[in-house]
Subunit: 207 residues, 2 copies
DNA sequence: ATGGTTCTGTACTGAATTGTCAAATACGGC
DNA sequence: GCCGTATTTGACAATTCAGTACAGAACCAT
């Protein structure tokens, strides 16, 4: 028995995420968020507790999408595991694959990992942001490691390799391409880097 | 016949770099720079043309250090090339090796690449920053590629591997560890990632 | 010593930003 | 149809910020 919300919470957070992506955290004012989301200042403070709250909840939403999308893309039968890994690596470079059917890359701004960008800017002085960002890393690394294990079971990756170490390395490479992309390199160059990484994966001894 | 400068230009730019590293570009005010460098606003504007000018010149100074340090650490006889690459990879993870004798790592803030941090924050909307950051990338990648070629000549790396592709991948990995470091991971974890990367380098076919 | 030139520090202005508040509004239950 | 409640809106004050201007200080050459 009261006035209901006139906005969709997830939609607002997604718009805020876009804004934070393009202008950074310290580079966006509350008015920017207000303009991007269509919400007034009052509503922003009442619902999300200001700029910082919007960021935390936007990151939480990103994490939720990631935690659902990454396993969905990487999980599956052992036979196709290596190929799934290959596809993930290539697509991740042009935008974190959140689902199998989601198109890969609009532009570079949306291609980089939101958590990585925020962690790089303010993670060192904001423990909550750092923790949320690391959660995003972990959920992806775990899904990748599981896929590596599947590929090992299928005989496509050297069984002596530590799947967790390999997963950390692969996700590190993907994050590295975010940085290289920020340098202005072309998507083709980033693809080439991802292919090089894939080519170096340790194969079984012989046969 | 006039009053000389009372400050050392490089020293000031280095202090500004530290400030930008810790609070980001948009997170630092001119007063912050003034406090960090000891220079008054007037001098800052007269000498560096304000905040943006300070950033550009600080990045130029970083680039200069990089352009001198990276080749110095990586260049040398073919015999030790692989080991130099190994050492560079391990040390780069804890701070860009600017010279052979410079100690590796104070803390994480100074360990990450200054150019990478600035490019990630404002590179997309600041072509000058993006270009300067990419110059930093290029000068390191070139030195790494040269070292890879040396290792190939010495029979330590598969001669069929493209040294430029390999160099891009290696530098991408190093930049990736900057991001993972921003997530809060321990130096030991970053070292482990670097070791994994080194272990995957393509060795010659056999013998 | 002295004058001219450059540097240094501070005060100032206009704009931007943050967080809060109160009045207006819209909806659901009765 | 009416009322209570939560949302929305816009405005407000206090602070911060960037960039400029100006006056004083320091130095070197003569």
């Amino acid at each position: 028995m009261a006035r209901p919300r006139s906005f969709d919470r997830d939609h607002v957070l997604h718009a805020a995420e876009r804004q934070f992506r393009t202008t950074g955290y310290n580079g966006t004012s509350v008015d920017d968020i207000s303009a991007a989301t269509g919400l007034g200042r009052g509503s922003l403070y009442a619902t999300f507790d200001g700029k910082h709250g919007v960021l935390l909840q936007a990151m939480a939403g990103y994490f939720a999408r990631l935690g659902q999308g990454a396993p969905q893309v990487l999980a599956g039968p052992d036979e196709g595991a290596l190929e799934r890994l290959h596809g993930y690596l290539l697509r991740a470079v042009h935008g974190v694959p959140l689902a199998a059917d989601v198109p890969p890359a609009p532009d570079r701004t949306t291609a980089t990992c939101f958590a990585a960008k925020m962690a790089m800017e303010i993670g060192a002085s904001d423990p909550e942001v750092q923790r949320l960002a690391n959660d995003c890393f972990s959920v992806v690394a775990t899904a990748v490691a599981e896929c590596v294990r599947a590929a090992q079971r299928n005989g496509d990756i050297d069984p002596d390799a530590d799947p967790d170490d390999l997963a950390y390395l692969l996700v590190t490479i993907i994050r590295g391409t975010d940085v290289v992309g920020a340098y202005g390199h072309s998507p083709a160059r980033l693809t080439s880097i991802a292919e090089s990484a894939f080519a170096l994966l340790p194969r079984p001894r012989h046969r």
